[in-house]
Amino acid sequence: MVLTSFRLPGEFGGLVPIHILSEDANENPGLTIETYQFFFSDFIYFEIFIKSFAVATLTTIICIVMAYPLASLIARSHKKFRHLMIMLVVLPFASNFLIRIYAWMIILGPESTLSHMINSILSFFGIAPVTLLFSPFAVLIGMIYVHLPFMILPLYTNLEQHDPILLDAAQDLGASSWQRFWYVTWPQSLPGIFSGSALVFIPVLGMFAIPDILGGTSDIMIGNLIKDQFLSTRDWPFGSTLSIMLTLMVLVIVGLLSWLARPGTRTI
């Protein structure tokens, strides 16, 4: 029972295009690779995929940089405070995802204090004012903001289980604090980093709401493309083709990350 409940989405995802193509008798009688040819015929779709990939990579890296100090501080804190500190990470994450995006709409909006501040600094240096909202920058901020806890939590879970004796041993053997971090803590934390990266990278790749709300018209990502095919354009076969492309991309990434995260790859 547990098994089948898991199988539904994954298994069915694979069946989508065949199913739809055979159902949709008006446009495509039988099976066809027309939609796939269409996908590869126009460079713009490829470009959108590359762009989404870049946004996801950037978001993941920034999240690692932001999450690592906080996660290690929490893991090192006294047990009494750990719970509270992790709660403080989870709390904003518990508020609705749309609310968090909406908050950035207010902050980055043209009438906001931040916008006024940045633009007055820019005009001081003689640069034309910028709009923060509806830009790739706004999309990136939104992505980081929404996905940061996904990086902090696995990283903390991992760091919490490190044995402090190892660090003491390293210190006794004369390792500097940087060496202790690089040779003891960092290799041990890699599984946490990889699972955190998977939790950040993949949702970012398929996100449509953030580019939809915070981004401009040119900031669309794979997710927006798929959404439009299903809900606006109603070209379900092409939407499915895009979905399959995205699935393939994700599978490659997951395979890569789990290969990297497999235990015992690093000798300390």
Binding site: S5, L70, S72, L73, L91, S95, Y102, G206, F208, S243
Partner: protein, 263 residues
């Protein structure tokens, strides 16, 4: 070392600020006596009054709660079972299947579920389809958390229990369960918040009839931004805050119990 620690604190505080300032702004502007979310114009409860006269919004809130509670209960039970099974039998294939919904971008799950409900199950989209959809994506998260906790544990504890003559059930009840309890609670909490939070999958699997909170909010943001959105946001945050405080109480009492049980 103290200097290093100091920097760590500074960075951490900045990260916390990054997490909280946007939300504080939303709350503050919900009391703002202006239609624009730009400048402070004076204190008012006006937007809350508007909100409480919005029946569709209230109905949407109720529906969302029902969905989140049902989905998180189902997902916690199934996810814990899966996590245990994967760890115990060292399954190679199940982890892959369990993590697929987590590993896939939500939009793919949304699209797949939409097609699955409509064309395979022939189900009318509505509350039921959303609950099933939410359970599906929450299971993976619970499984990951439970399994991660199990992986970090010393196997010899379980061997010791068995050597001392504990039955599999006793081992589970007195050793495994207390040890993974915090992971289970974390999983349940995560499921609830993910479910009430979820917009993408709800967006694809919702029917036409019942209003659902995230969809209502999305429409409001896209169409016309008024501080009414701030008001509903504030209330929603208050709700999750209360729930989490309750859960923490529950959890700490369990943590105290932890020290006694594995004798």
């Amino acid at each position: 070392m103290p200097l290093r620690h100091f920097f760590l604190w500074i960075i951490s505080l900045l990260v916390y600020a990054f997490l909280y300032i946007p939300l504080i702004i939303v709350v503050v502007f919900s009391f703002n006596d202006s239609k624009l979310n730009a400048e402070w114009a004076g204190f008012t409860f006006h937007w809350y009054k508007v909100l409480f006269n919005n029946h569709e919004m209230l109905l949407a809130a109720r529906n969302s709660l029902i969905i989140a509670v049902s989905a998180s209960i189902l997902a916690t039970i199934l996810g814990t079972m899966a996590g245990l099974a994967i760890h115990r039998y060292q399954l190679k294939f199940l982890p892959f299947l369990a993590f697929t919904p987590v590993a896939m971008p939500e939009i793919l799950l949304g699209v797949s579920l939409l097609l699955f409900f409509l064309q395979v199950l022939n189900l009318t989209l509505g509350m039921l389809s959303i609950i099933i959809a939410h359970t599906t994506f929450c299971i993976g998260f619970v499984t990951i958390i439970v399994r991660a906790r199990l992986q970090g544990m010393d196997e010899s504890i379980f061997e010791a229990a068995r050597d001392l003559g504990a039955t599999p059930w006793q081992t589970f009840r007195h050793i495994t369960l207390p040890l993974i309890r915090s992971a289970i609670i974390a999983g349940a909490l995560m499921s609830f918040t993910l479910s009430i939070d979820d917009f993408v999958i709800t967006f694809f699997t919702k029917g036409v009839g019942e209003p659902i909170l995230p969809i209502q909010i999305y429409t409001m943001i896209k169409v016309a931004v008024t501080p009414e959105v701030n008001a509903i946001s504030t209330l929603l945050m208050l709700l999750t805050l209360t729930l989490i405080i309750i859960a923490t109480r529950f959890d700490t009492s369990m943590l105290k119990g932890d020290s006694k049980q594995p004798r």
